[in-house]
């Protein structure tokens, strides 16, 4: 009798979705967010307080004729639903309007400016992740020791610092030079103006120019990773399975690497997914400070005109990028930890 019961499959406690359904749900969620961003993007500029034509045109549109032309050109004389449909159609076909400042399509500008940003932000994020997680692990494992106390102090200070101010200081000390010492690194730009970026010399020159901005951004980003990694590893340290692992006679290194860190990495992944928005803001300010011609500098320059279509376009790209990065992290997370697929 008991054997019969034992051979029957246990009733599922909580049915877990297959990975496919999990992916489906996450992709749908991301699409929902994207639609929301599109709607926000549309309404931010069209339901401005007052007359959009007046606000968007600022002082350049004096006569009623100018205003009417402006309204016609931007379709502002049509009904709101009609405008929204036109906007959707334009967005999906890559027509993001013309820059008021550069007099070229915004989509061209974005295409040109995307790569410097990706290079800068990508390198810094990877470096910050590696370095931050390492600091967090070592700090938590040696909790309360000198390394832990120093690193927590330094990361908290970095966390409290506007990243662009750190950039300014680095430029002043290492770029311009302090007193009798001369600066070593270039103070700005992506590469020297006289080199061919595709040649080896050009690549090295670009790398040399990127040392300071990448260092700044890495220092700015790593605080988040190391603080979260430290606290989630501390959560694991008291757990019973680590005592078991030690009781099995495993060396400390293995207990840490194979058991504790693996589990502690999961919450760190979630938090890092939420900080992509912060990554975008870092790009804006650091590109401004180091005058790197990326998307961040583009949107900063658009502020003074103000170049609405550029602002709108860069916002769209940034939001889509954050949503995409989030989706990727969520999918990887679902693969690593089946528990979240409920």
């Amino acid at each position: 009798m008991s054997q019969v019961i034992a051979s029957q499959p246990a009733p599922p406690v909580a049915r877990r979705k297959s990975y496919g359904r999990y992916v489906g749900a996450k992709v749908l969620g991301a699409l929902g967010s994207l639609v929301f961003v599109l709607v926000v993007n549309f309404f931010l500029f069209r339901v401005l307080p007052g007359d959009p034509a007046r606000t968007l045109g600022r002082d350049r549109l004096k006569s009623p004729q100018d205003l009417a032309n402006f309204r016609k050109e931007y379709g502002l004389d049509q009904s709101l639903p009609h405008q929204f449909l036109t906007y959707l159609q334009n967005t999906f076909t890559g027509h993001l309007g013309d820059s008021l400042r550069y007099r070229v399509p915004v989509s061209h500008l974005i295409e040109q400016r995307l790569w410097p940003t990706l290079l800068l932000v990508g390198t810094s994020t990877i470096l910050a992740m590696l370095l931050g997680i390492w600091i967090g692990i070592v700090g938590a494992w040696n909790r309360g020791r000198t390394f832990d106390r120093t690193s927590t102090g330094i990361t908290l200070t970095l966390y409290s610092m506007p990243e662009w101010w750190l950039g300014l200081l680095l430029i002043a000390v290492l770029g311009v030079g302090l007193g009798p010492l001369h600066g070593i690194f270039p103070t700005g730009q992506l590469h020297s103006s006289d080199v061919d970026v595709t040649s080896l010399k050009g690549v090295l020159d670009t790398a040399w120019h990127l040392v300071l901005p990448v260092t700044t951004l890495t220092l700015a980003y790593l605080a988040e990773y190391s603080l979260v990694m430290r606290s989630s590893l501390l959560d694991e340290i008291g757990e019973d399975y680590l005592t078991t692992a030690r009781a099995k006679g495993l060396r400390d290194v293995y207990v840490r690497r194979r058991h504790a860190v693996r589990n502690a990495l999961l919450p760190t992944t979630t938090v890092s997914a939420l900080s992509f928005g912060f990554v975008v803001s870092g790009a804006i300010t650091i590109e401004t400070v180091f005058s790197i011609p990326g998307l961040g500098l583009l949107s900063q320059e658009a502020l003074s005109t103000p170049d609405y279509w550029v602002l709108q376009g860069t916002f769209l790209v940034a939001a889509a990028g954050v949503i995409l990065a989030n989706l990727v992290v969520n999918l990887v997370y679902g693969l690593l930890d089946p528990r979240v697929r409920t």
Binding site: L156, W164, S231, F278, V280, F315
Partner: protein, 307 residues
């Protein structure tokens, strides 16, 4: 039954007196816990110092120092006996600008946090207590706002709404509430399942009563701890927005000081007194709020206490 707590000779205490006594006791307990955090105490001291500085600004330095037309120094003067921290690009003493700048930072930080907290708490509690579509929609909206890249959005809002202290606070408040809402929501969900709320429901408590009388007092400590951390983020954002030229043009803030320092080329001319002090102030204030916030989180969230 109530007499078991108090000595038998004393008259039974009224409900209000009992509540008062319990609150005072828990306040004392929490303060003792907070005091055990050396970093939290350090943050609190620093914070009080800056608040004092902001409140007493006109007593400490002459407000005329802010006026461009009454500037007495020469352009970008080195620190001297008269100007302890040198002068800016229009001859105004940096120290005066710095002290008055603390007012802007603290005001925007606190006001933006107030906005963000009110939205976050209301949305969080509602999405925890509502059922069905209402909760789902609120949760989705929170998630959507959470992924909006917040500086580009703040740039757009600041351009559209115009520049001013109130607008800057509004922009920061609107873009920073979702994290609070998620935190409060998870708290509300766990509170909803506790026995005393089940009891309240059995006794016929409506949703409104449950939220305002039971859930809200329960999440308030968390809100409070989170508030302190949000102020830190809001002050950083204010500085960044001012640095990008979106601050209130009529007021001097630490961010706008750094903006002018950057645009007049203080870095290449080596005018460190124009760049270093405002940044140090930002770091100290933000660090103070962060340390206090972490200590408060520790006090109110027993699960974290072992750290």
């Amino acid at each position: 039954m109530t007499a078991t707590d108090s000595p038998p000779t004393a008259a039974p205490l009224s409900a209000a007196a009992l509540t008062r006594r319990r609150r005072a006791a828990s306040l004392r307990r929490n303060w003792a816990l907070f005091r055990s955090h050396r970093s939290g105490l350090f943050g609190l001291t620093l914070l009080l110092l800056f608040v004092l500085l902001a409140v007493c600004a006109p007593l400490l330095v002459d407000p005329d120092g802010l006026d461009l037309t009454k500037a007495t120094g020469t352009v970008l003067q080195h620190p001297t006996q008269k100007y302890w921290l040198g002068t800016d690009d229009s001859g105004r003493p940096i120290l005066t600008l710095l002290i008055f700048g603390s007012r802007v930072s603290l005001f925007v930080g606190l006001f933006a946090t107030l906005i963000s907290m009110v939205i976050g708490t209301v949305v969080g509690l509602l999405s925890g207590f509502l059922e069905g579509w209402g909760a789902r929609i609120l949760f989705r909206i929170t998630e959507w706002f959470l992924v909006l890249p917040f500086l580009p959005l703040a740039l757009i809002l600041a351009t559209v709404l115009g520049r001013g202290l109130f607008n800057i606070s509004l922009v920061i408040g609107i873009t920073s509430w979702p994290a609070t809402a998620l935190l409060i929501r998870s708290q509300a969900l766990s509170i909803r399942e506790r026995p005393y709320l089940e009891r309240a429901r059995v006794l016929g408590a409506g949703r409104w009563h449950q939220i305002t009388r039971h859930a809200l007092p329960n999440v308030m400590p968390m809100v409070f701890a989170n508030t302190t951390l949000t102020v830190a983020a809001a002050i950083l954002t204010e500085t960044t927005l001012s640095f990008l030229g979106l601050g209130d043009p009529t007021r001097v803030s630490w961010g706008s000081m750094l903006d002018s320092a950057f645009s007049v080329g203080a870095i290449t001319t080596g005018a460190w007194w124009y760049i270093v002090p405002p940044g140090v102030c930002v770091v100290l204030v933000v660090l103070a709020f962060t340390l206090v916030g972490q200590a408060l989180e520790d006090v109110f969230n027993p699960r974290l206490r072992e750290r």
